[in-house]
Symmetry: C2
Subunit: 511 residues, 2 copies
């Protein structure tokens, strides 16, 4: 199954064949397999470093949130009420040979399994903020969250997912907005530099903000099929949560003032983005910075007396390679010495996306050489492009090789993103023409050819005014992704209303 034949099926196949995750017997929840979890551990390590370097501290808050907490901020509860897992009892008992809820163990107040933690963390802000000298509070948590989903796709939309959520409290709007933009930039640079995933950072339209936010920002990545993936969000929450939860501090001039808060998050969704950005028709490709194993050494064994020498050579090569560094860390090398035919291993590692695979046989040992395949450019037609160089030069060039692969994967995706944002759509008719047949449902839409995004001027519509625009977009399964940062003034008319436009926005289909 190739990408162009059926992208959704291709995606499912990669997740299965690279053995990244599988569905579980629990509705909408996934099991993340070692190959997928290894990528998540790399994401955690690299993103956490950036979060720590910008002055944030990690804490851990309860998985349960009292229902009354969620109810405090009206927009917030509206945004999450329909997808919350609710705990109502704390004990079961046997009754007539069956396990049933113990009615005597019914909770006085139901508990929500956290869908996000603004309210429980807001409560702790309130406990910890006395005066302006306590601010800002810069907190982050790595945790699981639950949002009940009816239609799920591994990594992209699951009832439970893993994420980090940042929550910060500030003295004023200016400082909180600075934080909001700082973290958006952390996500942007992390996505581009570590995941090699080009993104556009911008502001979400007013009708599509996080429940309780004053302003919401996102990074949007373009998948191979041209659809958008919201890959990280950063929200300026104003004083909405502070007012709802009475989070106040004493100012320099001894007045009581509300804190301005922010929140920002990125999740296991990023793994879906990674697959749909870099995967090819042979399987997954992982950029070296994020790859759990950067170089896999496969011994080519022939069941003859040379095999011991080959294995020994592989082990010594691995030791040499591990002494090299890439992006400030020792190179991660695995010698795949398991039983099995080497060609099967070759395809297993191509599917799993190891950036470099060394295939070492007797001839390499005799010639003191290394034969290797680059996963970013594995073949010409049906021919596998393997390269043979001296061991010495391979070892000496490891850091550079990994950097080249990191760069080439980014460049390939960036060229696609640049190509597939079109700017010559001027009217709603153009839009209709460009995206083709109207699609009412996501499923119908799957079969359409990739068209990327259009960048068009619009007048910023509030939530109340946006109805007609949303109807137009929905008919085509489209949505406004964001208004890219750093754009100049626009003189063009709004594509929806003809009124003078406020800004340009990206429109496309999305996951």
């Amino acid at each position: 199954m190739t990408r162009s034949e059926n992208f959704p099926k291709w995606y499912q196949n990669i997740v299965a064949e690279a053995d990244l995750a599988v569905s579980s017997p629990v509705r909408g929840c996934m099991i993340i397999r070692p190959n997928g979890y290894g990528i998540w551990e790399r994401i955690q390590y690299l993103l956490n470093k950036r979060i720590a370097e910008t002055g944030h501290e990690n804490l851990y808050f309860p998985v349960f949130i009292p229902l009354s907490f969620i109810a405090k901020e009206a927009e917030h509860v509206a945004g999450f009420a329909k997808e919350m897992a609710i705990v109502t009892h704390h004990r079961v008992k046997m009754d007539g040979g069956k396990l049933v809820l113990d009615p005597e163990a019914k909770l006085e107040e139901p508990l929500v399994v956290r869908p996000t933690s603004e309210t429980i963390i807001g409560h702790h802000f309130r406990e910890r903020v006395r005066s302006y000298t306590d601010l800002p509070l810069l907190w982050n948590q790595w945790a699981n969250v639950v949002r009940w989903e009816m239609r799920t796709r591994l990594f992209l939309r699951t009832s439970e997912f893993l994420w980090q959520e940042g929550h910060t409290a500030h003295a004023d709007r200016e400082d909180a907005m600075k934080e909001t933009m700082r973290m958006l930039e952390v996500y942007r640079s992390f996505a581009q530099e570590d995941l090699a995933m080009p993104v556009v950072a911008g502001e979400k339209p007013p009708y599509d903000r996080f429940g309780g936010a004053e302003r919401s920002f996102s990074i949007e990545a373009m998948m191979w099929d041209g659809k958008a993936l919201q890959a990280g969000t950063s929200h300026y929450l104003g004083t909405n949560f502070a007012v709802a939860q009475d989070i106040k501090y004493q100012t320099k001039s001894n007045e009581r003032s509300y804190c301005h808060t922010t929140s920002w998050g990125a999740s296991t969704r990023l793994i879906g983005g990674l697959i749909m950005t870099h995967g090819d028709d042979d399987g997954l490709r992982t950029p070296p910075r994020i790859a759990p194993r950067q170089i896999v050494v496969v011994p080519v064994l022939r069941n003859n007396p040379d095999d011991a020498g080959v294995l020994d050579y592989c082990d010594r090569l691995a030791v040499e390679l591990r002494a090299a560094t890439f992006a400030g860390e020792p190179v991660r090398v695995l010698v795949d010495g398991r039983d099995g035919r080497w060609v099967d291993k070759r395809w297993a590692w191509i599917k799993r996306g190891a950036p470099v695979m060394c295939e070492i046989g007797g001839r390499d040992v005799q010639g003191d050489k290394v034969t290797f395949v680059r996963r970013d450019k594995p073949r010409t037609g049906d021919h596998i492009d393997s390269h043979t160089v001296s061991r010495e030069s391979f070892v000496a060039g490891t850091t550079k090789l990994l950097q080249e692969i990191q760069d080439s994967l980014f460049a390939e995706a960036k060229a696609r993103l640049d190509r597939d944002i079109v700017t010559n759509v001027k009217t709603l008719d153009d839009l209709q023409d460009y995206f083709g047949v109207a699609a009412e449902t996501e499923d119908a839409d799957e079969a359409l050819p990739p068209r990327g995004w259009v960048r068009v001027p619009w007048k910023k519509h509030s939530k109340d005014e946006a109805g007609p625009i949303l109807a137009v977009l929905k008919k085509r399964a489209l949505s406004i992704r964001n208004a890219p940062l750093g754009q100049g003034a626009t003189a063009a008319p709004c594509i929806f209303t003809g009124a003078p436009a406020d800004e340009e926005v990206l429109i496309g289909r999305a996951y």
Copy 2:
């Protein structure tokens, strides 16, 4: 509040003053503060390394478990039924201005928030095991778990806690028992080498096994007050879960055979153990391997023109120290350049337990010297023992200094453990005399002087036979902790029954 005046209050004070964790508005759930979470991150890093080095892979399984799964293994459900958080609904709605459960969103089958994951992981074993060539499966998960608790204590007993849980499947008893003992040894060496916490590894008595286990093993640490803390457990589950969940594989001789499984876990409880092992009357002490910050540099500022030079000297010192390594990692150094008086910072870091604190003033800068305090030996009487040496020799001696502190904390705790395991208790009367006044409740027991443990011979009693023994022990708030590994045969009579003993066990009070 000193340790000897009131140990439980002293514990609470340390947790509060070192700012490790606080209670949350959610019953029994804690908020882990940055200082506590930093220790947990170190535990995760170091323990995970040992788990990976013994061949285990990390995965992630759903937080929810269908109630019917838990019900499959009879002993298992009996062990957990009374302390489970149960999800019954997946949506709330507004009703008369109030947020209520939506009766239309009631789950067909209730979901349990995982108290432990044997059954959901067992289900996946079944999906993944075909033949003997697939075995062993060696899986580990880092996750939050929930066991509803009525009486909670931060870190020691909380309704939600963080842990790792290992789950493995093997072809036969021998391989599974080898794994059970291997992981017990991983816990033992981790506790002793990384946490500097001496423990006794041994087997739990038959009546006190994990629900569904054939054999349960633990490491038991002795807290400063002489009580035991079960700090990690490793269970051989036999074929109990495999039979309940039909986990079978094809043998070499083409037969279908049940897998033998194991599970093992360690949790945020370890942080409680760390506090009660190393804390002293001044606050927490953290062994260097586990300390988030090994060396804290406090500039002694006088609000005069020399201050800039002092700060600069501190920063340069930090750079030099970070180039040193300890236990295979770069030394972790923090320069505490925040506003505030240096004496306040001194006490803050003493309370938080940083292994080494450098206090750098103008005189140090002039003399190119470093003045420092070792947290393991901070003072003589009321006098703080600060040492002044040349900068050069301090930097050169950093690795050795940290190792000395690691060793001295272990030695101190080990001497206490060795001293407080007594072996001259021969009868039940002796036992009564030794532990003093009978204590029916844990609270009454708090006030008793520390007596440590006794090591006595007993005849191994099954669950059915153990009633009278448990009654005797319970009256004194005592329990059998474990039967230490590696003991020889014993000729003595059972302390409870006078029958020939099978082994010696440790008896003490416990957390």
